[in-house]
Symmetry: C2
Subunit: 195 residues, 2 copies
């Protein structure tokens, strides 16, 4: 199933090629790793010559980075939604972690792309990526700030706890998508940290 944002009136000019290219690439990303996605194949899918993409993205990496921004936005949204739907600080933390892992498990290629040092996670984050990362750190930081005032967590260093939580959840996401951990291991493993 292809996405619906793109439209092509059939003329010489596509009309919305930028979005169409991202959509086509996103479709490929559901079954193929970012490293194996070729610009020419994306162009073919969008029904356009192999050179058209260069008028919308500086190079192949730029297109992949744009997909990464979409992926990061979706990852952040999933966490925010999960947090909003949970009652109590501890429950919110658990919900955030499980949403993170669940997103990775259901969109493994997109998740990998967001943290791929060859594209999105190289050097300083892009202008669109940075605020998303900031909001995500804020979301977790605020939550942990509340957590260390809950009974059983008083006096814990919130910075270390944030790092530990992010690491655990990120590692679980990685190991589950690689098949090294079964998906059912996420919840009890998270409980070993937060319960």
């Amino acid at each position: 199933m292809s996405r619906s944002v793109s439209k092509n009136a059939g003329g010489y000019h596509h009309g919305n090629l930028q979005a169409a290219l991202e959509d086509a690439a996103l479709d490929l990303l559901e079954t193929t790793s970012a490293a194996k996605i070729s610009l020419r194949e994306v162009a073919r899918r969008a029904g356009v010559s192999h050179n058209a993409p260069y008028h919308h993205f500086g190079d192949r990496a730029a297109l992949l980075r744009a997909l990464g921004v979409r992926g990061m936005a979706a990852l952040l949204a999933a966490q925010e939604q999960a947090v909003a739907g949970a009652d109590g600080t501890v429950a919110k933390v658990r919900a955030l972690g499980l949403a993170y892992v669940h997103y990775a498990a259901t969109h493994p290629q997109a998740f990998a792309l967001v943290f791929d040092p060859d594209y999105c996670a190289a050097g300083t984050p892009s202008a669109e990526m940075a605020p998303l990362i900031g909001r995500n750190e804020e979301l977790l930081g605020d939550l942990v700030g509340e957590l260390v005032q809950e009974p059983g967590y008083e006096g814990r260093d919130p910075v270390a706890l944030s790092a530990a939580l992010w690491s655990t959840v990120h590692g679980m996401a990685q190991l589950i998508t690689l098949g090294h951990l079964p998906p059912e291991a996420a919840e009890p493993a998270l409980d070993a940290l937060v319960r």
Copy 2:
């Protein structure tokens, strides 16, 4: 600096091309991600034609997988050495985790290759990789088995604890190599789990 295993008498036949190719690729891996390493460049470095590698590796992925096996062996050895050098179960667990993170931080490309789903971490592990993974799981499993008998850890589910520890350590390794966490964050974050 190039490695020393490879030798070339200058004749038509190289004499030890298999190792020389791995060495050349390993040198490249210190500065370049696995995805960007080309077989032709490796062959050039080894001073042979672009086709010689195919007599020793079925394809490009096979060479990368061989490097991955080397990397995994080094990662395992680092953990075993750290565990052997620590006194007490808790200290051993911490040492194992820090060694894991330290290996990733000092050999980021090799670490990434070991867990790259495009090469080493795809499908069922290779015949050479599987025993290394087994030994690593055994090392951690045994240690956690001891840990859950220590005061303060009685009654914890060792399986969940193993998964949590591996996840945390793996996530830290990943996030540190990506620059999302400073290397100094490893120790206090690990202490949030094991102390």
